[in-house]
């Protein structure tokens, strides 16, 4: 008996060391290009304007570019917020419907939504432009966000459907028995169970809309409405074929910082056993 416990402890320590060494190597591999980006944005001739090895000239140029980084950041934030809110709203409701109810058009909805993934973006943008113009949302951040919500529906719907389906039916039945008879309260209970999926869908729709370049470029004509990715592309294309790498690196860093903050805040939602813990209690 004590031998068994001893060997288990040994195994746990071994897997512990294995975990940290493997993960550290992987972390280095994953972070290395970004670290290079960060370091490069501060070193080199473009960073120091020719005076010495380091400098912040790349960032100075970036902040002075066009309408100013603050404007582009704000535009991106508006588009992303609307996209995330809209995507979550639509996909949570629809995912729940697909997982738990029978209704006409159920399968068609799922297949049609998935089909959104399967059309190459450049082609669908042409008719979308005409559509947005017809409903007066061309050159409008809300119009862009609506299109981006549409692009997020396949992933969001699939995720949320999977998530609701994997919640055991006993969950709902227990809640019903507890007297939570109206659907609002039921939703309150169910939502706890699918939180990680919601976090994932929210995070991914944020990432997709934050980094989306083509749709805002095509649908927006006022450069004061441009989002950050568009500004960064124009900023780093200093001339004919040549790429301003200092500008590229500075742009990557600026664009990645909000994402980094969001990842750090949200990653704890993937703790294993969260939902089942709630069920047991």
């Amino acid at each position: 008996m004590s031998q068994h416990v001893g060997s288990m402890r040994l195994r746990r320590r071994a897997t512990g060391a294995g975990f940290y060494s493997t993960s550290s190597v992987l972390a280095v591999l994953f972070l290395a290009p970004l670290v290079w980006s960060l370091v490069s944005s501060f070193t080199g001739d473009r960073a120091s304007d020719g005076h010495g090895p380091v400098g912040v000239a790349n960032y100075q140029r970036l902040f002075a570019y066009g309408e100013g980084v603050a404007t582009y950041l704000l535009n991106s934030a508006v588009v992303s917020t609307i996209t995330v809110a809209g995507t979550l709203f639509v996909t949570v409701l629809a995912g729940y419907a697909l997982a738990r109810f029978q209704f006409p058009g159920k399968n068609i909805l799922f297949m049609a939504t998935l089909a959104i993934l399967m059309i190459p973006h450049p082609t669908i943008l042409v008719p979308l432009y005409t559509l947005l113009k017809a409903i007066g949302l061309q050159n409008n951040l809300v119009g862009v966000a609506l299109v981006l919500i549409m692009f997020q529906l396949p992933f969001g719907l699939f995720m949320m459907r999977n998530a609701f389906e994997s919640v055991p039916r006993e969950f709902e039945e227990a809640a019903l028995l507890d007297g939570l008879s109206n659907f609002g309260s039921l939703r309150r209970v169910l939502l706890r169970a699918v939180t990680p999926a919601m976090v994932t869908v929210g995070m991914f729709s944020f990432l997709a809309s934050w980094n989306e370049f083509l749709a805002p470029l095509i649908f927006l004509s006022d450069s004061s409405k441009f989002t950050l990715p568009i500004a960064l592309v124009a900023f780093r294309s200093s001339n004919f074929d040549s790429v301003d790498f200092g500008a590229l690196q500075a742009g990557i860093v600026i664009s990645a910082i909000p994402c980094l903050i969001i990842f750090t805040l949200l990653q704890r939602h993937y703790v294993r056993g969260f939902a089942s813990g709630a069920l047991r209690g």
Binding site: Y129, T130, K133, S221, S223, S237
Partner: protein
């Protein structure tokens, strides 16, 4: 607890979204209106490679005129895409720029208005970059005027040349002479590159190779742009000269150079000569290890020429305020714009009767312009600028293969076919 915070976040998100909706609905619901009568701002699109000059022009205009110009800078790689989508919805901007080699195509597709009368009324019409006007015209009618000038030339690092015992002020008269000089530079060290001609990029190659053909007295295309003459003697001599440079140690890294890192590499100070556009002066500044000088592109054995690239700008067919747009266009060709504004930015004036800089390098470039040409073809972009076009492969085979003459002769027909397609 968890749910409450999520609900709060959702509520906050909804509030922001509603606020944003209101804001956007109030401010930007209109489509890119091209101006429906004087007073409305005039919309203008330019490619991002001309962003600096275009923005400077617009800022200066807006500070001294009531009718404002609204500039949108569009990434060059997506410019045609944005134009294509907007054209379909008749939503083009009033002032629309274009890479000069696409001008014939734009004219043929009816994207620009006929402005012949207006251009003829300009007193300095004859001083405008002739190549640009030619390709923007059809059947005697003019549809666009020059906007910016990008010409190809050879830029040298005087610091490195002196180290190699080469007099930087001496004009280099032939590709063979460049070869000899480049070898001396390469001998300085294993990290030193004698000559760099970025070649792994379709857009760069015709821009940099054609001048040598012209300098030798030959032609690259037929005048109507439907036939390739790249199997001519002058063409073969040109490609053979560069081929030799790539093989004999002068330009070993050119085979894989895409041009993307060209400026950064040149700025490091290890390259003797780089075959590029005048935009090098914008992207690289003099430093301890780099002092930039200019040479005209020669032919294999002599002469000199350049490719008159850059952008032209016309008034689109969607424009509702042609007069307002023309006011800006005319002003952009005037002394203030071409002289003061372009001069400060180290930009070449598009008028030969204006001198805007004391910088000897700019003056050297201006001197080269008179030997410059802009080739004309309706199918230029898809043949030469598109990496999937036929020219890239033929050029690279000629530059890095064993037999430039054979490569050019074998590939010439595919280029002609592409130039001819409907």
């Amino acid at each position: 607890m968890m749910i409450r915070s999520i609900r709060k976040a959702a509520a906050a998100g909804a509030a922001i979204a509603a606020g944003a909706l209101l804001l956007s609905a109030c401010s930007g619901g209109s489509s890119g209106d091209s101006g429906s009568g004087s007073g409305e701002p005039i919309t203008m699109w330019t490619r991002d490679v001309t962003a600096t000059q275009s923005q400077a022009l617009v800022d200066a205009w807006n500070s001294s005129h009531d009718q404002k110009v609204k500039l949108t800078v569009v990434p060059a790689a997506n410019y045609l895409q944005k134009v294509g989508v907007a054209a379909g919805a008749n939503d083009l901007p009033c002032l629309m720029a274009s890479d000069v080699v696409y001008a014939p195509n734009f004219v043929q597709k009816g994207l620009w208005n006929d402005i012949s009368d207006k251009v003829d009324s300009l007193s300095f019409k004859d001083a405008l970059a002739p190549g640009h006007l030619e390709v923007s015209s059809k059947d005697g009618k003019t549809y666009a005027v020059p906007h910016t000038l990008a010409i190809s030339a050879i830029f040298q690092n005087d610091v490195l040349l002196e180290k190699a015992g080469i007099d930087p002020t001496a004009p280099v008269k032939s590709l063979a002479e460049f070869d000899a000089n480049a070898q001396k530079v390469a001998a300085l060290g294993s990290d030193k590159v004698g000559f760099l001609f970025p070649s792994d990029s379709a857009g760069t190659l015709s821009f940099t190779m054609f001048p040598s053909i012209w300098a030798g007295g030959g032609e690259a295309l037929s005048k109507d742009g439907t036939k390739s003459l790249l199997d001519s003697d002058e063409s073969i001599a040109t490609f053979a000269a560069y081929n030799k440079m790539a093989k004999d140690g002068s330009a070993p890294t050119s085979k894989t150079a895409t041009g993307a890192t060209r400026n950064d590499v040149f700025a490091k100070g290890n390259v003797g000569y780089v075959l590029a556009s005048n935009a090098v002066l914008q992207g690289v500044s003099d430093s301890d290890s780099v002092k930039i000088g200019v040479q005209a592109i020669p032919g294999a054995e002599g002469g000199s020429a350049t490719f008159l690239g850059g952008d032209v700008m016309g008034i689109s067919s969607s424009c509702k305020d042609v007069d307002g747009a023309w006011d800006f266009l005319k002003w952009s060709l005037g002394k203030e714009a071409q002289g003061d504004i372009y001069g400060k930015l180290n930009q070449l004036p598009v008028r030969s009767d204006i001198q805007n800089s004391d910088d000897p390098r700019i003056q050297a470039l201006v001197d080269i312009i008179k030997d410059g040409r802009t080739p004309y073809s309706l199918r230029y972009a898809e043949t030469f600028n598109d990496p999937q076009g036929p020219a890239l492969k033929v050029f690279r085979d000629a530059l890095f293969g064993d037999d430039p003459a054979a490569a050019l002769k074998a590939g010439n027909q595919s280029i002609t076919d592409s130039l001819n397609q409907q």
